[in-house]
């Protein structure tokens, strides 16, 4: 192969500046023909203000329907080394912890099999192997399996679950997010690898209501840690914060959304029955306050980005659940949701959209959950109620 010289004056501009440069990263691997062509395609996009990748073409590894995203350049003749440049999603270890040894193993595989470029990590949480050819997919998969790794999700399947750092390094974790994430991932391997749903279904496990993995906005099933009993207070530590200049009245009590705290200059009182577990006071005084001891999670269902019917946040299904292995309650709920949505959901309809279409009340009835006021911000204000037979008519009226 002749030595190809790539001129990238526009991209070179992005090597300057203080923030880490993705162009520098790409160029670190530029001894590879695919990277030379990737730079060529990208410089063209910067010149023409348009992308040069095509989707389509089903590629993958034997027996799996997900985990590989087929990607082709639309400038195949000019840049043949990226004519096909597929993405592989590799299921990350829960909490994104690694040893240097395992990282080097992943590097060795990708050095041999692909572009030499990664995302650590993709938006859903997977390790992204960015760009390889069709013939390398199966060998990469075999190498990964030998190293103890497997593919993540893509398409209409359960997507790779992810979680926050949890009890590994956070005192606010109200359940073991890493264990829950690992358990659910392992329990639903078939659903992860073989797309059989109307559309994607994501799990995100956040240890507390700060929601460091944005589960309420980004997961069809958002499992957000919470507690039922009293916030743990160390009054001496509260006083120390006050002495250090924290204005406890102004910056803690006055910012409490339920106004359930008071401070008399020496003692912080919390009316815990009014607390909604927002985390603000705990965030401000990390040494003095902690979530209570009776810990678990709130399960919310249905969030998604705009495509197709508009963006949604997840909504409450179970106000409090004990999150103990083997997570039978969560699995039972999940299977009931999948059964209903799997049968009646339309193509590319997320579960949140499906719930809006058939109505939350009907959805709950179908999966066998009792409606409770914690599930809504307010009851309906419109009088267009679809009454069912048992309410009015024959069975209604006075006894």
């Amino acid at each position: 192969m002749s030595e190809k010289k790539v001129s990238t004056p526009l991209l070179d501009e992005l090597e300057k500046g203080r923030w880490p440069s993705f162009v520098k990263e790409i160029k670190k691997e530029s001894q590879r023909p695919a990277i030379k062509d990737l730079l060529g395609v990208l410089e063209r996009s910067y010149t023409e203000h348009i992308g040069h990748w095509k989707h389509g073409g089903i590629v993958g590894v034997l027996g799996y329907g997900g985990g590989v995203i087929g990607r082709y350049s639309d400038l195949q003749e000019e840049f043949p080394a990226v004519a096909s440049f597929h993405t592989m999603r590799i299921n990350q270890p829960a909490g994104w912890f690694y040893t240097s040894d395992v990282l080097r193993k992943l590097c060795d595989i990708w050095d041999k099999r692909g572009s030499g470029l990664f995302n650590f990590h993709g938006s859903t949480g997977d390790i992204i192997f960015l760009g390889t050819t069709t013939d390398q997919l199966e060998p990469t998969f075999a190498d990964l399996a030998a190293a103890g790794f497997d593919l993540g999700g893509s398409g209409s399947d359960m997507r790779t679950p992810s979680c926050c750092v949890g009890p590994a390094r956070c005192e606010w974790a109200c359940y073991d997010t890493l264990n829950a994430c690992y358990d659910i991932t392992q329990s639903f391997q078939d659903e992860l690898h073989r797309p059989a749903f109307p559309y994607k279904y994501k799990f995100k496990f956040a240890g507390c209501p700060n929601d460091c993995v944005a589960s309420v906005a980004r997961a069809d099933c958002s499992v957000i840690g919470t507690w039922k009993d009293d916030i743990q207070i160390d009054q001496a530590a509260v006083q120390a914060y006050s002495k250090d200049g924290v204005d406890i009245q102004k910056h803690v009590c006055d910012l409490c959304p339920t106004d359930c705290m008071s401070w008399d200059g020496s003692k912080l009182k919390i009316e815990n029955s009014e607390c909604v577990k927002c985390m603000h006071c705990i965030n401000v005084m990390t040494k003095a306050l902690k979530p209570g001891k009776e810990r678990g999670a709130t399960i919310l269902i249905g969030s998604k980005a705009p495509i197709i019917g508009g963006a949604l946040l997840s909504s409450v299904f179970v106000p409090f659940i004990e999150m103990q292995a083997p997570y039978s309650d969560l699995k039972e709920l999940t299977e009931a949701i999948w059964d209903l949505w799997g049968e009646h959901g339309k193509n590319r309809e997320r579960v949140g959209e499906f719930i809006q279409r058939i109505g939350l009340g009907n959805f709950l009835e179908q999966i066998g959950l009792e409606p409770i006021p914690e599930m809504i911000t307010h009851p309906r204000s419109n009088p267009y109620i679809f009454f069912e037979e048992e309410l009015g008519g024959d069975k209604g009226g006075a006894e």
Partner: protein, 359 residues
């Protein structure tokens, strides 16, 4: 071909415990409190008084093998061969020896990976693939993010903002970066209806699936030159690109008219205010690589106005809710247009229906 019987499948990810540092294993679930010691450095103290120091550095998300190997080398040198990544693409080194913090910081900075992104700062921008690897991108992702963060850099390495400020970037409405609940969301937008390739469509797409993909019912079946195809009622199209993802013959990318919008005031945390969506601040700015100066200027302006006006602990959305949207537009000097007024499914809920107005 390898024999099918020999293939290992469905093993799932490796168990996380294999990769936890000894200090983490020992204190798993037994942490007592944490403190941010300085920008990008925090300490977690366990019930047994063990301490683990976290040093957080940014990465550009798109990283080379060489970079991961250099992180592995740093992990060997400073923390027994262990590291982790965060949900915002930062890398974290977990140390037990406090005296190693500064030397590690220096090495990271020399390699080009600045330390910061904790507390009331701007952490790394979560983002999508853009022109590097995506078919439906209305703009590049990495280039815009790099340009914005070069400008906002002081906010990553310092903690001088009133509250946390989370910036996210997505290169089209699919929002692989789920930017819709960020303090500032930068979003690539298409602004014209897709161009149907009638020659190709009958060969590569199913007409009913393509018709059904449209959330506004703007796509109808038609016949062109005796072949099955579809037509787009352009007034009904809001350029979501869902049809293009379903059918490659519905080209939505447009070099002349694709651009970038800016949204503000979203959050996912429950702290104080419940989670909120981001709302439209700037409907359209041009695609102007390699540095996107219009976008950088607009984002920096919003950060400045927030930094100057918000109260301590107030997130962008809480601040705007307190002062009201008319005042936000005035303070930020952003023109309000008809595009700011919602006209999708629940639009009516966003109209102001009271006489409570500041004059």
């Amino acid at each position: 071909m390898m024999a099918t019987a020999e293939r290992t499948t469905d093993i799932g990810p490796p168990h996380y415990e294999k990769f936890l540092p000894p200090i983490i294993k020992k204190n798993y679930g037994k942490w007592a409190y944490h403190e941010i010691l300085k920008p990008g450095v925090m300490v977690h103290v366990s019930e047994s008084r063990d301490k683990v120091y976290t040093v957080r550095a940014s990465t550009p998300r798109l990283v080379a093998i060489a970079t991961i190997r250099s992180f592995a080398d740093l992990a060997d040198k400073y923390c027994g061969g262990h590291l982790r990544f965060t949900s915002r693409n930062n890398v974290e080194f977990l140390l037990t020896d406090e005296s190693k913090i500064e030397p590690l910081k220096k090495e990271l900075q020399t390699l080009g990976y600045p330390v910061g992104g904790m507390g009331n700062s701007i952490s790394a921008i979560v983002h999508t693939q853009g022109w590097v690897h995506c078919h439906s991108a209305a703009t590049d992702a990495s280039g815009v993010v790099k340009s914005i963060m070069d400008e906002l850099f002081p906010h990553f390495v310092e903690q001088k903002l009133p509250g946390k400020l989370r910036v996210a970037f997505a290169c089209c409405l699919n929002m692989c970066g789920a930017v819709h609940c960020s303090d500032i969301a930068v979003l690539g937008v298409h602004t014209r209806a897709p161009k149907v390739n009638h020659e190709e469509l009958p060969r590569v797409c199913e007409v009913p699936t393509t018709v059904a993909s449209c959330p506004t019912g703007a796509i109808r079946p038609t016949t062109v030159g005796g072949k099955q195809s579809v037509e787009v009622i352009e007034e009904q199209c809001m350029y979501c690109g869902n049809c293009y993802t379903v059918c490659p013959s519905m080209q939505i990318n447009n070099a002349k008219t694709d651009g970038i919008s800016i949204w503000v005031g979203g959050k996912v945390s429950n702290a104080r205010h419940e989670p909120m969506f981001s709302k439209l601040a700037v409907p359209y700015l041009p695609n102007n690589p390699p540095r996107w100066p219009e976008v950088v200027k607009a984002v920096a302006n919003i950060v400045d106005v927030y930094a100057k006006n918000a109260r301590k602990y107030e997130r962008m959305g809480e601040w705007i809710e307190r002062i009201g949207w008319p005042r936000f537009f005035k303070l930020a000097g952003i023109p309000f247009t008809k595009y700011h007024i919602d006209d999708f499914t629940h639009a009516g809920e966003t109209y102001k229906r009271s006489a409570q107005i500041k004059h």
